[in-house]
Amino acid sequence: MSEPKSFMRDVLVLFFKYANDMQNQAPPINAPNGAGLKILYLNDYASVKEFHYAIQVAIHGYDRDSDGKWRVPPAQRLRKQGGGAEDWVASAPHPMPPDGRMPQQAIDIFDQWVRDGMLP
């Protein structure tokens, strides 16, 4: 079993390159639990933790191609919140990054970080 993922060591290196654009150019987004509109700071632990599911949806937004064909096996898909065992996120309103899919290795790391309890 691999070492639990941490934000500073494993997650910041995935997202920091996008942090400036998110902060300066992306509109505020609805925070979970009705916390209102907020800016997502991809270089801030608390912000990424708060928006972790929205981030997961965005980076899994390319999992199925435009022809409806899955690009990744079930084990690497994102289950919808509150959905059934095979109820996967198949698209995203704004898949991220906008220029194309992150490497699967990076998506896997972020998913594991979430599973590991989102350590700082």
Partner: protein, 723 residues
């Protein structure tokens, strides 16, 4: 009294090394600029033996796959002036080429004697890469190879200077003469109107070592030649450079298989086979008389052009032009009284559009995000009156400024800066021209711009296709292009030879003595010292290969916010959410070095074909052979400066590998020059990498800007199979 001026063009010519005996001619059109009536933009090399037929991708390599050399071609033009001491201006006006059969001052030209002298002084030079600063106030930098004694020590000179001596040939000869140790030096002599042998010339090549060392052609083998001369049927001169070799030597100066390659710019105990030197000519008339051409030229042999149609945003021409405007009174209508003239109406096509085109074309050699590409594309074919109020000056980094916050809207050019400058800026002249355009002060059709004669246009074009701006140290000519001591400064008489001429030292070949080096210290920056063969290239990296390999992407140096250390606290501070926009902290971004000359990321022809020719696949690193992957843990920096894999992508991890594989790198060409093309391209503005000999991609995933020093790195995308 009427005077006929004779000048060789280009004033500074560029040859490029290759691993093949074969060659093509250097481009004589401006990289990336539209050519009248053609889909193909400028910058393509020319097929040998033709006036201007450009090559196809199939002509980049020989039948054995070796990269062809790029030859520099020279011509002689005559200018009709009112008097020898008349006031010269630039441009000088109409001119016509002189070939055998031409008439000059009523006399028929029977032939031309061309003389070229090539040398390489890199190993007998100062440590480079820090620009002009180490030479100011009478100081000099430390020497390369300090264990060999003082710079002018005869023993040192004989061991560390590669001096192939002069070679001369007739324009009608059309046969090659080699710059090697086995060919007797010779030179054109105006007094006798003949080519004279110089059998006692002190030729100097790397000393052989153990006879069991590698053969004559492999990587690391002994350098035995700096190139060759030839002529065309028109009598024009063709100069070929070396073969891209580097070879090592021991403490006695004798050849050894290898030596340490500890740095990117200064490596002791190494030679390479680039070179430079003067080009001169004598006209031989049918009546038996002769006349020396007063406008002599210079040739530089340097690295290959891996993206010949992609111009740098700041070119070598821009550097030279700015220097001549500001310090040598080239065009008082533009610059006089120590300032640019606010009333000057800029020539949009000549002074503004090249900057915009270059910016738009950077996307083919470095990985820009789609938003940046869309923005730059707006400028690709812009006309002077199409700015539509766009405040372009808000996006241009003023010359000399490099302390911008890394988080602000990026300023342009988006590249690393000059020696001791963090980020690149336009030259003051370029910045001035852009400002004039931004204020609608540009010339219209009723104010025709000065027209360059063909030879003068060649002076400009050849240097336009070379690197400016980032002289740390650069690749063709370094910071010395800004030193007026490099040039013949009394250019404003018609009999001077005209502008942009190197202040060459007249060498007395007749009295040369074997074993007594004729070349010495030579040109020293900021000193009034004449220029010897080898004096221009000696400021470049030794060998050039290590600098080229290194110059993919880097953090700015110096980093405006200070050194970035690899500690959790330092990384946290450098990456924290910015609340005060004026906060200056270490810049973590990675910028391209000189991508138009040293492509970083490229779209490959093979990937496009493999994808069915539709949407462009993701770019790959240009340098991607085995040994380029940067995902292994590195030895921690002793000072804990950041040194993560992201800082090392797109290059060989071991410098020695580049010495072997430099000629495997592909070349970026416009799709209209690529053959075969399965179907005629709909979009003719694609610039794709072809002729790469890397059979697989062993590097990393290329990532678009804003990539940073702390980024995770990933494997590359799958490679299309190649034979």
């Amino acid at each position: 009294m009427a005077y006929t001026g004779l000048r060789i063009h280009p004033a500074i010519g560029i040859a490029r090394v290759g691993s093949s005996e074969e060659y093509y001619l250097g481009p004589e059109s401006m990289a990336g600029m539209r050519q009248p009536g053609q889909d193909t933009t400028g910058g393509l090399p020319i097929r040998p033996g033709t006036e201007r037929d450009t090559i196809l991708s199939t002509e980049l390599r020989d039948s054995c796959g070796r990269l062809k050399r790029q030859a520099a071609r020279f011509r002689i033009d005559q200018y009709a002036f009112d008097s020898a001491d008349g006031a010269e201006t630039w441009p000088a006006g109409p001119a016509s080429e002189v070939q055998p059969g031409s008439v000059v001052d009523g006399k028929v030209v029977a032939d031309i004697i061309w003389t070229v002298h090539l040398a390489n002084k890199k190993a007998n030079s100062w440590q480079g890469g820090n620009g002009v600063q180490p030479f100011v106030d009478g100081q000099l930098p430390a020497l390369r190879n300090p264990d060999f004694g003082a710079l002018d020590n005869a023993s040192r000179l004989s061991k560390l200077v590669i001096d192939a001596g002069p070679r001369a040939l007739l324009g009608s000869a059309q046969q090659a003469i080699q710059f090697d140790a086995g060919t007797t030096p010779c030179y054109g002599d105006a007094a006798s109107a003949a080519i004279c042998a110089a059998p006692n010339y002190p030729l100097s090549f790397p000393l052989p070592g153990d006879a069991a060392l590698p053969g004559s052609t492999g990587p690391g083998s002994l350098i035995r030649s700096l190139g060759a001369l030839s002529t065309e049927s028109t009598g024009r001169l063709v100069v070929l450079g070396g073969y891209g070799k580097a070879c090592a030597f021991d403490a006695l100066g004798k050849h050894v298989p290898s030596a340490a390659l500890d740095g990117d710019v200064n490596n002791n105990n190494w030679f390479d086979d680039v070179s430079d030197g003067p080009v001169s000519a004598i006209l031989l008339f049918a009546d038996g008389s002769a006349r020396e051409v007063e406008g002599g030229a210079w040739v530089i042999a340097t690295d290959p052009a891996y993206a010949p149609q992609t111009p740098n945003v700041v070119t070598l021409w821009d550097e030279l032009y700015c220097t001549w405007l500001e310090q040598l009174a080239l065009r008082p209508t533009v610059y006089a009284g120590q300032r640019y003239q606010s009333s000057y109406r800029t020539d949009f096509d000549a002074e503004v559009l090249p900057v915009l085109r270059a910016a738009a074309l950077q996307k083919w050699t470095t990985f820009l995000p789609s938003r940046a590409i869309k923005g730059h594309d707006l400028f690709a074919y812009m006309k002077a009156d199409q700015r539509n109020g766009f405040k372009i000056m808000n996006f241009l980094r003023p010359p000399g400024q490099d302390h911008e916050p890394a988080t602000a809207a990026p300023m342009m050019p988006l590249s690393l800066g000059d020696a001791n400058q963090s980020l690149l800026s336009l030259t003051p002249a370029q910045y001035f021209f852009m400002g004039q355009w931004a204020h609608d002060l540009y010339a219209t059709g009723s104010e025709p711009a000065p027209v360059l004669a063909a030879g003068e246009a060649l002076d400009k074009t050849v240097l336009f296709n070379c690197l400016g701006g980032r002289f740390s140290p650069g690749i063709e000519i370094s910071f010395i292009v800004r030193d007026t001591n490099l040039y013949q400064r009394g250019w404003q008489r018609h009999d001077s030879g005209g502008p942009f001429r190197i202040n060459r030292q007249r060498l007395n070949y007749r009295d040369a003595v074997a074993q007594q080096p004729l070349l010495g210290i030579g040109y020293t920056p900021l000193r009034d010292t004449p220029v010897q063969p080898g004096d221009l290239s000696k400021f470049m990296a030794l060998p050039w290969h290590t600098d080229y390999n290194s110059c993919a992407t880097h953090m700015p140096a110096p980093n405006p916010g200070g050194v970035l250390y690899d500690t959790e606290q330092a990384i946290a501070e450098a990456t924290a959410v910015v609340t005060d926009p004026d906060t200056i902290r270490p810049n973590t971004l990675l910028y391209s070095s000189w991508p138009a000359q040293r492509p970083v990321a490229v779209y490959t022809y093979d990937d496009l074909v493999a994808s069915g020719g539709g949407q462009l696949p993701a770019p790959r690193f240009s340098v991607r052979g085995p040994g380029t992957r940067a995902d292994v843990p590195r030895v921690p920096d002793p000072q804990n400066k950041i040194d993560r894999p992201a800082l090392h992508v797109g290059r060989y991890q071991q410098r020695t590998q580049f010495l072997q594989d430099w000629d495997k790198i592909g070349v970026v060409l416009q799709i209209t020059a690529i053959s075969p093309m399965p179907t005629p391209p709909k979009n003719k503005d694609l610039y794709l990498e072809v002729a790469s000999l890397f059979t697989s991609d062993d590097s990393n995933l290329a990532e678009s800007w804003r990539n940073t020093a702390i980024d995770a790195v990933y494997p590359p995308p799958g490679s299309p199979s190649k034979p």
